[in-house]
Symmetry: C2
Subunit: 190 residues, 2 copies
């Protein structure tokens, strides 16, 4: 998606060869028009998949996922992060370790809102090692819901997230695929 | 707002006289059409205030705040919660203790996105004791930004949040004001 790539080049900051800051338009301050364009792209791509729910990973995934749910005219379901292994009988939960921050958290979902008949589109802002998305997929499986696809704003394709997800049979649709960020220079895949 | 009150009566669950669960349409599963109606109401109410940014408190405030920012055609700024007192020189932060959960967290904002010329509308899902919103106001003051108003989806008016905020000179506009939830019966203010 050219609009997002142009914005990353203009306002993103590669603070090292692994970490891209997009806090001025996605993660802290949110550009609403950009989110609408992103949502329109996801909705167009996934419109024939029979998606019944859009699933967001808390919290930077919420804004693009909400707009995509609006575009697809389906509800949004938010998977929440809990800091520790707090057992809660009424929630589905799975442990996720972020490779980027080395922090472990419990990703949780309420089984009331994910059913066997649900076919879900998972939306997240970044794909790196794929830990959050594979956690989301585990939760959907526990709920016997199915995955219609994974929509990502920014994929760091030099990290193994896409390979893991595609290897497990899931479609990954990323709007901007970054090949490298060496010396603070963002280079996209062709 | 009658639509929200009707929905609370239909799908909300007062699990005791203090706690109302709205997880099926606001906090876990998000009803997009309801969020659009809520945003339209906030936008209409605050349209002449010269709002330059909508400010959300992570994470249940994000969905209604995003839609309100869209309706007002201004950016959204997300105040993030950090679990512990992690000092970060590049962020503004303030400690907030939730009276409901008795948990303490650091509410943070990036000063890059809140400036002296910003006139902000704070949106949150619940108002109870007002701790989160007063924390948000402290952060806005640290950034020398001004508060144009506070928009709340559900106010528990038997708790002191509104009184605190109005006493400090802030306008509080709540879409549903709950007078009592005794015996699991939600009763609204006139």
């Amino acid at each position: 998606m050219q609009l997002l790539k142009d914005r990353i080049l203009a306002d993103g900051r590669a603070i090292n060869s692994d970490v891209l800051k997009v806090d001025s338009f996605i993660t802290h301050q949110v550009d609403i028009e950009l989110m609408e364009a992103i949502a329109a792209d996801f909705a167009e791509h996934f419109k024939d998949e029979g998606i019944t729910k859009v699933v967001a990973i808390e919290s930077s995934g919420i804004a693009p996922a909400l707009m995509t749910a609006k575009a697809l005219k389906v509800p949004l379901v938010i998977l929440k992060k809990q800091p520790s292994k707090l057992l809660n009988g009424s929630l589905l939960q799975t442990e996720v370790t972020s490779f980027t921050t080395a922090k472990t958290y419990e990703l949780t979902a309420s089984p009331k809102f994910l059913k066997a008949e649900d076919h879900c589109l998972i939306i997240d802002d970044f794909l790196a090692n794929g830990e959050a998305v594979t956690g989301a997929i585990r939760l959907l499986r526990m709920a016997h819901a199915t995955v219609g696809g994974v929509g990502i704003l920014i994929e760091k394709s030099f990290q193994p997230g896409r390979k893991k997800l595609e290897g497990a049979g899931f479609e990954v649709y990323s709007l901007a695929r970054i090949k490298s960020m060496k010396s603070g220079q963002v280079e996209f895949e062709e």
